[in-house]
């Protein structure tokens, strides 16, 4: 259904990788709906070539090169003088220094010299830094997505007022969960007059729905799975400590952690110190296409995050009919309904994870099947890509 010929500029940190399903599906959905999407990002080599990119102009750290860059780069802005002059005007109004305006003009050269836009959208709110007045300069609407880290973590490091300038120029907000929006209102002083639309992440449910599970907990060995970056936010250590309790309770289990990241040493060290070498595997290299099969071969998905926007993996696991235990970090408690479509335990609480696992082991099969069925139906009905596509179409048409 092609209904529009609007152009959207999407600002994200790096090109969309082949495995980044969230942005891939979002952009493809918008293109199918008739939008033209241009991605503004830093250059790297892992780009999915099916999208259209305009790479960021990056100022060198070396002063001499920097001067040359500005000297030869800024005249390029002469082909769009009105955008440049509007940028300078609004930047000066917002109190920016001359140096910061020149830097801003250069850094945003890829946007300012690009095609006309109807909306410029920040894929993460952090991308709005240094680009607060760019919407006014481009004479287009300015919108952003609240995803998790940008609202929950970044402002703690950079000051709770770090988005105040951005709020002044923002037209619309997309949030993936109510919880993030609440944080933005209460902690970050998001004005209530900015239009907000909640569009939860969605998944291609067809890839995950398949074989119906007839039996959940295998009598010989409980198979537990976690999927996520090896990063402190994912709370893997709390899961490992819970599983140590499970081992001490004499339960036979296998726990596979799928993901890569800078905390590999931390996870391996923790499992070794907890004496879980033979029960826990860390699998770094698994392609996204193998995930459905992986989910079918496990009984329980454990998602113990301490910080999480929404948790796409948890949606996928529910669609695949897995039983899910998640922490109550931000959007996860909206993703899974406690004791209806899975179980929600307090974050940073290994004892509660262990207790929940033991409780599930003692639950009757039909009860487990019922929970799995409810979770699957809810994901199919509420979190399918098609619904997300139409929600984004409305968001960018508004």
């Amino acid at each position: 259904m092609k209904s529009t010929n609007k152009t959207i500029g999407l600002v994200i940190p790096a090109p969309i990788g082949y495995s980044e399903t969230f942005f891939t599906s979002k952009v493809k959905g918008l293109e199918e709906a008739g939008f033209k999407v241009i991605i503004f990002c830093a250059r790297n080599n892992d780009a999915d070539a099916s999208f259209k990119y305009r790479y960021q102009w990056v100022l060198s750290a070396k002063p001499v090169i920097r001067v040359l860059q500005v000297f030869f780069g800024l005249p390029m802005l002469l082909k769009c003088p009105s955008r440049g002059s509007r940028y300078i005007r609004y930047a000066r109004q917002s109190g920016q220094s001359i140096g910061s305006i020149i830097r801003g003009l250069y850094n945003n050269g890829n946007i300012l010299t690009g095609p006309r836009l109807d909306t410029l959208h920040f894929g993460f709110t952090t991308m709005g830094h240094g680009r607060e007045v760019i919407g006014k300069a481009m004479n287009c609407k300015l919108s952003t997505s609240f995803r998790g880290y940008d609202i929950g973590v970044y402002p703690l490091k950079h000051g709770l007022g770090c988005y105040h300038k951005l709020w002044k120029h923002l037209d619309k907000v997309h949030t993936i969960s109510d919880d993030l929006l609440e944080i933005a209102y209460e902690r970050l002083a998001l004005p209530t007059n900015i239009r907000v639309k909640k569009i939860t992440p969605a998944i291609d449910t067809k890839k995950f729905v398949g074989r119906e599970k007839r039996q959940f907990i295998r009598t010989d060995k409980l198979k537990i799975l976690s999927i996520g970056r090896l990063h402190w936010k994912k709370g893997h250590e709390y899961a490992l400590k819970a599983l140590k309790e499970l081992k001490e309770a004499g339960i036979n289990f296998q726990y596979d952690i799928v993901g890569s990241g800078k905390d590999l040493e931390r996870i391996i060290f923790t499992k070794t110190k907890l004496g879980l070498e033979s029960e826990v595997n860390v699998c770094e290299e698994v392609s996204h296409s193998d995930v459905p099969e992986l989910m079918k071969s496990h009984d329980i998905l454990l998602h113990p995050s301490v910080q999480e926007g929404f948790g796409n993996t948890v949606l996928e696991a529910q669609a695949a009919g897995m039983l899910c235990i998640v922490s109550d970090a931000e959007g996860l408690a909206e993703n899974v309904l406690h004791e209806k479509t899975g179980w929600v335990v307090p974050k940073r609480n290994s004892a509660m994870i262990a207790r929940q696992l033991l409780e599930i082991l003692n639950m009757p099969q039909d009860e487990l099947l019922q929970i799995s069925k409810m979770a699957q139906n809810r994901v199919l009905n509420q979190y399918d890509l098609e619904a997300q596509k139409s929600a984004f179409t409305q968001f960018f048409n508004a």
Partner: protein, 395 residues
């Protein structure tokens, strides 16, 4: 005897600088320091020779000047070329490497004492040039990096055999390193030592109103600060009045956790401090908490014990070789916030007399086992055993 104490950086970490300071008092030794000169002034004694560079350009110029000097030692150059097999690297990389290794080779050392095991693959070639390589077994390089990095573990298996000697900072780390080769016969456990004249015992009266806790160490997961913060939450829930200072930096993870657990009024962070400021911070607090999940032996614990500040430490690495639970400090299991919280709570109800007794015992323990001269004697014995060099007795 010519000994290089090599960490790659000048000045190095506090405990390596302490070793250099101690060794430089020995008349039989000529100490060599190589590597990149970091910001910050440092002066060494006469017997310390430094051959350093500040940046990449300096490194390349050093390489070229030493290449010319090597025309005076053609035999040594030939031996070097045979021992140091270069794979196909570009010229810049090769020159940078020369800037690092040529000053070392040219100095014709007796001992090359490498501080970080991960660097062993770069330096083991010195053995072929009749330089005895001694490797210190410290922290991350042994405790966790090889667990997650199979290539590193394999390289240890291959290289530990070739190394002339090892210095282990604790018995525990020697045992840990032994999984990569039979090294015990070539290893000396030499504990860190302090110059106790610089650490005055000052036992504080018990604070009735508020327990002031401090942790000191770089902001890294291995320090276990996230477990300490979970323990703080438990203390807060139990209405214990306390403050907690982490000296060593603030990570995004810790910031988030403090905010998430609503601990902002109880927890503060400070970035890295000088040695004298560290001592002051230890002295200003009632208790030093070491929540680490892995350590060799934490120097900050030795310093606290010497200064008369109570210590609560996790039972990680070699900490149980220093702390006798309830006698000269307190030990709790690793990765266990509940145990940390309970022990801290217990301390708030402990009598002042008992606390004084523990602090006094701790100081005595340090005086008996962690004096600088014991460390230096141990190191000299290790060098002696490795080279069969006969030392004159100390002055």
């Amino acid at each position: 005897m010519k000994v290089a104490v090599y960490s790659g950086k000048i000045p190095s970490t506090t405990f390596i600088e302490r070793l250099i300071e101690g060794l430089s008092k020995e008349k039989e030794l000529q100490i060599y320091l190589f590597g990149r000169l970091k910001n910050g002034e440092i002066t060494y004694r006469n017997r310390v020779v430094t051959k350093s560079f500040k940046n990449t350009l300096g490194q390349i110029l050093l390489a070229l000047s030493y290449r010319i000097l090597f025309f005076l030692k053609p035999n040594l150059w030939r031996k070097f070329k045979t021992a140091r097999a270069y794979k196909a690297t570009n010229l810049k990389e090769k020159l940078k490497d020369w800037g690092k290794v040529l000053p070392v080779v040219y100095s014709e050392l007796d001992i090359f004492h490498l501080q970080w095991a991960k660097d062993l693959s770069n330096w083991i070639f010195l053995e072929e040039l009749d330089v005895r390589v001694i490797c210190s077994l410290r922290g991350a390089h042994i405790n966790y990096s090889p667990l997650a990095d199979d290539n590193l573990a394999r390289s240890y298996q291959e290289l530990f055999v070739k190394c002339s000697g090892f210095h282990a900072v604790s018995k525990a780390i020697m045992t840990e390193a032994s999984q990569y080769g039979e090294i015990k016969a070539r290893t000396e456990v030499i504990y860190s030592g302090l110059d106790l004249q610089k650490f005055t015992l000052k036992i504080k009266p018990k604070q009735i109103n508020k327990l002031k806790i401090v942790s000191i160490g770089r902001a890294h997961w291995v320090k276990g600060y996230h477990y300490a913060l979970d323990a703080c939450k438990l203390l807060k829930d139990r209405n214990i009045n306390f403050s907690y200072l982490i000296v060593g930096g603030e990570t995004e993870e810790l910031q988030y956790q403090v905010h998430d657990l609503n601990l902002a009024s109880h927890v503060n962070f400070k970035s890295r401090l000088s040695i004298s400021e560290v001592k002051k911070n230890i002295g200003d607090h009632d208790l030093l908490l070491l929540p680490s999940v892995g350590e060799g032996i934490a120097n900050v614990v030795l310093e606290s014990m010497a200064l008369g500040t109570l210590v609560v430490s996790t039972d990680c690495g070699g900490m149980s070789e220093v702390i006798r639970d309830g006698e000269n400090g307190f030990l709790v299991p690793i990765m266990n916030s509940e145990a940390i919280a309970s022990r801290l709570e217990e301390i708030t109800t402990m009598s002042e007399a008992k606390q004084r007794q523990i602090c006094t015992t701790a100081r005595q323990y340090i005086e008996q086992n962690h004096q600088e001269h014991s460390m230096i004697t141990g190191m000299l014995d290790l060098y002696k055993d490795t080279t069969r060099f006969t030392f004159k007795s100390r002055d």
